[in-house]
Subunit: 105 residues, 2 copies
DNA sequence: CAAAGTATATCCATAACGGATATAACCAGA
DNA sequence: TCTGGTTATATCCGTTATGGATATACTTTG
């Protein structure tokens, strides 16, 4: 199974956040500030996802938009998309159960 | 934040699974067999939740139903319920984002 | 040009996990 | 009754993952 950080990263990439720092902000945003991914966990997690074939770096060579040269861009591989989808589906089941249990409305 | 295992246990308890082994089966059931909590993680997690005040043991002294004497029963504390609800709410946000990203329907 | 923010990378101590091993009670059927 | 399979809890060990600090340097804004 994916780790929480792993899923967060995949979800951020699937949501169009292409590089590490943007991933970090996405997670903070979506959790209302509750979840913060420090740089240690962030870059380590990205590297692990790349090593596992769930994510790949790509060249965002759009010369029109003068992007920050330091940035490294990543996207999901088909395998990564599958993994993210599986995890999201598991999560819907957990949310349904939480609703059934009266934890949330 | 809760660990995945921690949330699973809280959710199982909130769903009326009172003792450790039942918690284990609940998680396996709800995930369609994808997530399995081994005894190491299971009992360690329960103990941690108790130590953190999210869960407490109680005496299921129902003499009518001759229950298994080995079982140890647990339930959520108010704090545990809050934590489980917060986590479930975060999860709904993640699921919504996954839907928006086209990962799930 | 200085300060704040953006961006990536690495290190270390701590926390958590997975799976094996152990022990034993419970239950169904031969 | 005894025997095997399942239920149930507990602990140990090696591995993996985390959180936070530290480092470095580019970019943007006033």
């Amino acid at each position: 199974m994916l780790t929480a950080a792993g899923f967060h990263v995949l979800l951020a990439l699937a949501s169009g956040r292409g590089h590490g720092y943007a991933v970090m902000r996405f997670i903070e945003e979506i959790s209302g500030g509750a979840v913060k991914l420090g740089p240690g966990t962030l870059y380590r997690t990205i590297n692990r996802l790349v090593a596992d074939g769930l994510v790949e770096e790509f060249d965002a060579g759009d010369p029109a938009a003068p992007h920050d040269a330091r940035r490294r861009y990543y996207k999901l591989t088909p395998q990564g998309e599958r993994a993210a989808r599986d995890e999201a589906e598991l999560m819907t089941r957990l949310v349904t159960a939480a609703r059934k249990a009266g934890l949330i409305t």
